[in-house]
């Protein structure tokens, strides 16, 4: 089934699955962060998305914007790099989407604004081996596929995010905890980028 507009109920279901998928990936994300950072990315993400999930479960699905905002503020409250970066993403998305119906164009506009805010907050550019290296190509793919509807666009975004993760393997980190590793950061995928791919996978998957 192709959704030209993602209903609040359908989005809610996907968001809940996304939360669960992050929570279930705790060990995987921690291992990725042990290779490059301080080993806690999974713990922080799981804590943040548990709070987000609880927030969703405690409220009725009113609008896409409200759900994104709720998640954004829960992530932001979880602390850590992950909390502020992913929180900025979802908060901006929520603020931009607001109470509009979630069609491909609205989603693309929201994601584009979100990626810009993440970039600004993180003072990050492409190629620094961060989650932005998955987020930015995903948002671009989503925007490029906007004519195919929200569902198809999200699927393209998920593919691009995964490719973005792979691309981070070849990057030398210049932001985050891996920045001091120099060439030793080569060969490992960025943990935050993996989280981005998991999120787009969750958002693009029907039950």
């Amino acid at each position: 089934m192709t959704n030209e507009v993602l209903s609040a109920a359908e989005l809610r279901a996907r968001l809940l699955r996304t939360c669960q998928s992050i929570i279930d990936s705790c060990d995987l994300l921690c291992q990725a962060d042990r290779d490059l950072g301080d080993g806690d990315h999974g713990v922080t993400m799981a804590r943040a998305f548990t709070a987000a999930k609880e927030g969703l479960e405690a409220s009725a699905p009113v609008s896409a914007g409200a759900d994104f905002s709720m998640i954004g503020s829960k992530l932001m409250g979880a602390g850590g790099t992950a909390g502020i970066v992913f929180g900025t993403w979802f908060s901006t998305l929520g603020r931009t989407v607001a109470d509009r119906a979630l069609d491909a164009g609205t989603l693309a506009a929201g994601m584009t604004a979100a990626a810009q805010n993440v970039q600004a907050r993180g003072k990050v550019v492409l190629g620094e081996k961060t989650m932005f290296d998955a987020l930015s190509p995903a948002v671009e793919a989503l925007t490029a596929a906007v004519g195919n509807g929200a569902d198809a666009a999200l699927k393209q975004a998920a593919v691009a995010a995964k490719a973005g993760v792979d691309a981070t393997r070849q990057m030398i980190a210049t932001k985050g905890k891996a920045k001091t590793l120099g060439e030793r950061s080569l060969g490992f995928p960025d943990p935050g980028a993996i989280s981005v791919a998991l999120i787009f996978e969750g958002l693009s998957t029907t039950a």
Binding site: R34, G77, T81, G83, K175, K177
Partner: protein, 334 residues
Amino acid sequence: MSKVKKIFNAPARIVDETLDGLVALSNGAVVREGMWPVLRRSVKRTGKVALVIGGGSGHEPMYTAFVGEGFADASVAGEIFAAPSPDQIAVAARAVDTGKGVLFVFGNYAGDVMNFEVASEILAEEGIRCATSLVADDAAIADPDLKRGIAGAVYQVKLAAWACEHLDTLDEVLAFVETAKKNLSTFGVAVRAGSLPHTGTPTFEIGDDEIEIGMGMHGERGVKRQKLPLADDLTAEITDHLVADLNLKAGDEIAVLLDNFGSATYAELMIVNRKMRMILNERGIVVSRFDIGAYFTCQEMSGFSLSFLRLNPDLKVALNAPAYVPGVGQFGGV
């Protein structure tokens, strides 16, 4: 590989219960701000720039416990190795602001920088002025923007506290600390990683005869790995590096902080101290204050750092001002 065991009730309760433990031992000197991970002096000081410190937990006693006479007005504790969130930081700042603004001192890590930045924006909207003096003392890294904040934080916070106490405006305080920190440099090494209590897994693997040089404070690795050298050779390398970094000359006076990252033995630290003294003596550099202890830790990481602070009359007064925090006791140096 065997798991690292720790004594706790639940990983998610560690930060909370650590704060409660600190309050319990303080005889009323420090309290928590509600249920927040914020520790502050129980008697609110007035008419001064407030000092708020913080960062991820897991490095205790720094930053959490360093609240009290000669140190911070409040500390805000994130989860282990994770920066505190903007709302937590804002709670700490509001609790101690006296109208003269708030100085934040925390380490130069992406997460801390971003979270404190958002908090500052929130507070600015409320009319509370905040300024930040980043701890970025890591001599292993040349680029100033990339320098991490490590054990020199103890000295930087102490100097900041003195400035908040004795200087009038937030701008003056900030200028003092920013100038002071140019004299501060730290270099760390580790032979074994610490582990996150949640996973019990060391944050990095390291060979039986290897050492990580230029170590950070979260188990994120250092700048290079090499064969484990003799203590004297290692000490010479570190000492020379710090002397060069601060461009120390014969006749210069310094304070030295020898920080235990967690499970270094006292004997190891003494062996390092012995050699460092020999080198500094030879070069005519005077150690006029020495602090040794596990002040800024990384769980059970095995290693240490040396911090050098070049002293001048002003910094000497500031550094040697009386200081006492309940969870650590007197901080008077030798």
